[in-house]
């Protein structure tokens, strides 16, 4: 060991020989996985767009096609369960492309020993969720793995929807001056799940915001043709979503801390656990980037809809600092809202 005040430092670790939990968190590790493992071999120009859904042309009709997998633990939580989450999540991926959701598939990976009652409850919940959209579950699959795999139950879904004529949503359309609209309170889902896992009790019960957004999207598209793109801030939170858009569109984004709606309960939980609400998952919210002249009208349309009641304009797209998302704090100072590498680790310091 060197004497005092001589510098010392660890050797960098060998890279990436195993999958880590962080690879699934929607941050830069996830992005690297796509870039290094999947995209180079799958070689599809459509895949390379990496939107929430793929829009494919089939005999003149534009179909939106998406897939998603659900591994949430606990299986049942306040405001939903893995089943309703699966339906809403897939419908939302389609809706973010402006598509009307039509059909879903549902593949189940079941752990040996799972209670039949659990499966029935989940299936019933999926049926209810699908009926409320409405969307039809037309095909599926079931596999059973030995005890110890699948954490009880995993669900994979795929969804197909129809993109209306003239609707073209993509981060590529985003340009400086566009406004950033958020449909409501951040962090409800992630904190509700975490709270349940950690046994944190709330005075007013906090529930997941899991909900299908296709109705809200339809209202928004009805009032304006100048919505550039939409995304739902799921894993990795608002931060990941905005960072992805900023990178894809090669623009900067500036958001106002003051404007971002966060419930007291969520704020409190984040304080206590050392988490930042900007990185916490949402399952019933969307971010829309809208031309400045259309922003007010779109906001009003959102606020008229039950899922957009608390919608707000939270930021602006800028030509400065491309790919960087900055936040103007309540003090008027700025800080970067960075892409997370892996999962957000709760702070103890």
């Amino acid at each position: 060991m060197a004497g005092p005040l001589e510098f010392t430092c660890p050797v960098p670790l060998p890279a990436k020989d195993r999958i880590l939990l962080g690879h699934g968190s929607g941050g830069t590790l996830s992005a690297e996985l796509l870039r290094d493992v999947f995209l180079p071999v799958f070689r599809s120009p459509i895949l390379n767009c990496l939107d929430d859904q793929a829009v494919v042309d089939v005999n003149g009709a534009r179909l939106a096609f998406t897939t998603d997998s659900f591994v949430v633990k606990p299986i049942f939580f306040q405001g939903g369960d893995i089943g309703s989450l699966a339906v809403h999540g897939t419908v939302n991926d389609l809706a973010m492309g402006g598509a009307t959701p039509l059909f879903l598939s549902a593949g189940f990976i079941l752990e040996e020993g799972l209670a039949m009652e659990t499966l029935r409850r989940v299936a019933a919940s999926m049926a209810r969720a699908a009926a409320s959209v409405p969307v039809e579950i037309v095909t599926g699959d079931t596999k059973v793995v030995e005890k110890g795999g699948a954490d009880g139950l995993y669900i994979n879904t795929a969804g197909i929807g129809l993109v209306p004529e003239g609707v073209r949503l993509s981060p590529a359309h985003v340009r400086p001056g566009d406004r950033v609209l958020l449909s409501g309170y951040l962090g409800d889902h992630g904190i509700a799940i975490l709270a349940q896992r950690e046994g944190i009790q709330f005075e007013t019960q906090l529930a997941s915001d899991s909900a299908p957004l296709n109705g809200l999207v339809a209202e928004m598209l009805a009032v304006s043709k100048e919505i550039r793109c939409m995304r739902d801030p799921t894993r990795g939170g608002l931060s990941s979503t905005l960072n992805e858009i900023a990178a894809r569109a090669a623009v900067g984004i500036e958001i106002e801390e003051r404007a971002i709606p966060i419930r007291e309960a969520v704020r409190g939980a984040c304080e206590m656990l050392g988490l930042d609400p900007l990185y916490v998952a949402n399952e019933g919210k969307l971010v829309a980037l809208v031309a400045p002249q259309a922003a007010a009208a779109v906001l009003q349309a959102m606020q008229r809809h039950p899922l957009g009641r608390d919608a707000a304009i939270v930021g602006t797209v800028t030509a400065s600092h491309p790919s960087l998302v900055l936040l103007r704090t309540v003090f008027g100072t700025t800080r970067i809202v960075d892409m997370l590498a892996g999962d957000q680790l709760p702070r103890i310091c």
Binding site: M1, V11, L13, F331
Partner: protein
């Protein structure tokens, strides 16, 4: 939330900043010690509110950052054992050891769990009598009483499957070392408020008078830190060097007797290595002999693991406030939060990570 929100009032922040600007007639270099304080400074962009003559440098206040390589290697060795359940605070999981880190051990099948409290680890031990549960007891003085309580309780219950891997460090010896260095540029310190909540601030009085340096015990909200900075600037401008307590709502001169008592029943002072700095005498805690049965280093025979730390990154210079993160040629290129080379880049309190995450857009353009 009470005692939080009002200390984030933007108006008062601006007023404090204005007051600081008015008082500052000369350049001053100030250091905050605690990672939590670094986090607040970065997250609220406090440096932007200060006059350019007030320079903030970030000290070795992140226990994650100063945990020496060999402790990480010991943790990895223990956590890799098949009958061990290794419980840790989240931040420690990504810190690189010599060849691995705890996340990688987890990926390879190690039973590693995140806890928010040492008592949770105790609970795991009670509920899993067949597993050897080891808690990673890292931290400053703030966390030592809680860790002591866990061990004390374990002994009281006669738990045979619980132990802790200790890496506790103490703040005053580090300040002393920094101030003794001929290269020291720091003229005033913000002492860590929560450490002082437990320990009081009598130890800092000795430092202030020996080195003739003002020290202000500061809290963790933006107004706390701005007020602490103001108090330091005032002292410096007036040529004073005393200890002042800004964080009066939580800190008393004597600290918390009850907490210290429990802590000293279980721990005793020892020398410790600080990553990036080296060995500092009497700068940490170890378990007392009566609690040897709860010492994971002894139980798992990892006492002899040592780790040579080849020089590469400037962690040490950053941790001592001699360099800014962006002075490092690897900053943001070879060393980023995603692939950290040094601990200050791993922990979200580490100066490099905080700087990278929140403020790198402020770094001078030429690198």
């Amino acid at each position: 939330m009470k005692y939080i929100d009002e200390y984030r009032d933007p108006q008062l922040a601006q007023s404090l900043a204005a007051e600081i600007r008015q008082r500052t007639t000369r350049p001053w270099v100030l250091m905050e010690i605690c990672g939590g304080q670094t986090h607040t400074l970065m997250r609220y962009g406090i440096a932007e509110l200060l006059p350019p003559q007030v320079e903030l440098v970030h000290g070795p206040g992140c226990p994650v950052c100063v945990t020496p390589l060999e402790i990480l290697d010991k943790a990895v060795a223990i956590a890799s054992l098949p009958d061990v359940t290794f419980v840790s605070y989240g931040d420690m999981l990504r810190v690189p050891g010599s060849v691995s880190d705890l996340f990688r051990v987890k990926a390879a099948g190690g039973d590693i769990r995140i806890a928010y409290s040492p008592m949770e680890a105790l609970k795991v031990a009670r509920e899993n009598p067949g597993r050897k549960v080891v808690f990673f007891a890292v931290g400053f003085e703030t966390t030592a009483p809680a860790n002591a309580m866990a061990v004390w309780q374990a002994k009281r219950e006669g738990l045979r499957n619980f132990s802790i891997l200790v890496s506790h460090v103490l703040v005053p010896p580090a300040i002393s070392l920094l101030l003794s260095s001929p290269r020291n540029r720091v003229q005033g310190f913000i002492a860590p408020g929560h450490v002082c909540t437990v320990m009081g601030y009598t130890e800092y009085e000795e430092l202030a008078s020996r080195f003739h340096v003002p020290i202000v015990v500061g809290g963790f909200e933006p107004l706390d830190l701005l007020e602490a900075i103001l108090l330091l600037v005032r002292q410096l401008e007036e040529g004073r060097a005393a200890v002042e307590n800004q964080y009066v709502r939580s800190v008393t001169r004597q600290g918390n007797e009850a907490a210290r008592q429990r802590m000293l029943e279980v721990f005793e002072v020892t020398g410790r290595n600080w990553r990036g700095i080296g060995p500092i005498a009497e700068s940490g805690y170890r378990l007392r002999a009566e609690y040897a049965d709860y010492d994971a280093e002894r139980l798992f025979g990892v006492e002899t693991i040592t780790a040579p730390e080849p020089p590469e990154c400037i962690s040490a210079l950053v941790l001592q406030g001699l360099k800014k993160p962006h002075d490092c040629t690897a900053f943001g290129t070879r060393c980023t939060p995603a692939s950290p080379m040094g601990a200050p880049m791993v922990s979200s309190e580490g100066a490099c990570a905080a700087y990278y995450q929140y403020q790198r857009h402020m770094a001078p353009a030429n690198r």
